[in-house]
């Protein structure tokens, strides 16, 4: 039951984009069209889940056991960078169609702060192994959800009459503000 609550909480209540402000750069950069936003969301979900598992192992079984938590940042970013590289090579070799669909977005995931944020939050909140996996999958799906909503809205925005200085990034941020307002309605629903 606690795992289910954590899952729902990480999708909507503690949405990475709209309440933690993590992963904003790709959120603004890639959310122009629905058909690139959703694959990006799923790529992030996949990397997030893998990161959650591997950084948990490294953090709990190596760094904390050896009493070296100050190496966390260096270790985490190396894990993420090599993980993204590995996923890229794996997809290129075995699922080339998916590799083509992700294109440039795949290597860019390394600098997506949502991934490192996930690893740090997981270490901060001291989740156990199962909780970490659930947290990773849930946060990834929450990210995909907000990307999809935003892309849907932006496709409509293109048709509307926006004041010139506010075009593109500025109007996207203000729209995100309204979305965050809507997501605030979920806060307090689940206390964790």
């Amino acid at each position: 039951m606690k795992l289910l609550l954590l899952f729902i909480a990480s999708i909507i209540v503690n949405n990475f984009v709209l309440s933690y402000f993590l992963g904003i750069c790709p959120f603004i950069g890639v959310s122009k069209r629905l058909d690139s936003a959703v694959p990006m969301g799923f790529a992030v979900t996949f990397v997030m889940t893998m990161t959650a598992v591997i950084t948990w192992i490294i953090n709990q079984l190596i760094l904390l056991k050896l009493n070296m938590p100050y190496l966390q940042y260096v270790a985490f970013i190396l894990v993420i960078a090599s993980l993204v590289q590995f996923v890229e090579m794996f997809l290129k070799k075995f699922i080339p169609s998916l590799y083509k669909a992700f294109g440039i977005y795949l290597p860019l995931i390394t600098t997506n702060c949502a991934i490192l944020g996930l690893a740090l939050l997981e270490a901060l909140k001291n989740y156990n192994f199962l909780e970490s996996i659930v947290f990773g999958v849930g946060s990834g799906l929450g990210y995909t959800l907000s990307m999809a909503i935003m892309a849907g809205i932006r496709e409509q925005l293109e048709l509307s009459n926006i004041p010139k200085p506010f075009e593109n990034a500025a109007i996207t941020l203000i729209t995100a503000g309204i979305l965050a307002l809507a997501f605030m309605g979920f806060s307090g629903m689940i206390a964790l």
């Binding site: 940042y73 991934i115 490192l116 200085p165 990034a169």
Partner: protein, 200 residues
């Protein structure tokens, strides 16, 4: 190869190529830590520290780093300075460190830093890289202070913790919540775009 005077590389970060409003880099900390002006200043200075030191180190090493593994090398250097900044803040400014939370370690993936390294420090000499990093860092800090001041003033009625608005002003709580962050950022970006257009 570059005919512009050295001072230009320092000044461009403030307005012409402001990292937050024009390059749209480092958006996550901009939105997350600007609920008060003090947090903005702390975050800005921590980022400036990491930016300046990693740009200088990378500029010194730029001929030794093989092109294929450069991103990995850059990230490790950045992560080292971030760890230093984090430990320093924890030791001397524990309150600020708590308020900034995971956003201090997240400086590692702040795109301003990797962006300036990739676009400037890995191609230019140490002095120019230093000026460029310092200018961008101060531009970033300045924007964070402006955003933090607006949000703190409207959301709490205070500035740097001192009450400045008269007591009949009812603070708008929404300004210090995520929504207010997005609104302030979007509006500032629109205003700066409009100002640029008038100038040209």
């Amino acid at each position: 190869m570059d005919k512009k005077p050295a001072i230009y590389h320092f000044l461009k970060g403030f307005w012409d190529e402001n990292p937050v409003l024009v390059q749209i880099l480092g958006t996550c900390p901009t939105l997350a830590v600007t609920a008060t002006a003090v947090n903005g200043i702390g975050m800005g200075l921590a980022t400036t520290f990491v930016l300046v030191f990693s740009c200088v180190v990378i500029s010194v090493l730029r001929k030794l780093i093989p092109n294929e593994v450069r991103i990995g090398v850059f990230t490790v250097i950045i992560a080292t300075f971030v760890t230093l900044a984090d430990l320093f803040l924890k030791a001397y400014f524990p309150d600020l460190s708590k308020a900034l939370g995971p956003f201090v370690p997240l400086i590692v993936v702040n795109c301003i830093i990797l962006g300036r390294i990739e676009a400037f420090a890995s191609k230019n000499n140490v002095w120019l890289s230093f000026l460029d990093a310092l200018g961008n860092g101060f531009g970033f800090t300045l924007t964070l202070i402006v955003m933090g001041s607006i949000r703190e003033l409207l959301g709490k009625g205070t500035w740097f913790g001192i009450p400045v608005l008269l007591s009949f002003y009812k603070p708008m709580l929404v300004m210090i919540l995520p929504t207010g962050a997005f609104f302030t950022y979007g509006t500032l970006m629109g205003i700066s775009n409009a100002l640029k257009k008038i100038k040209s």
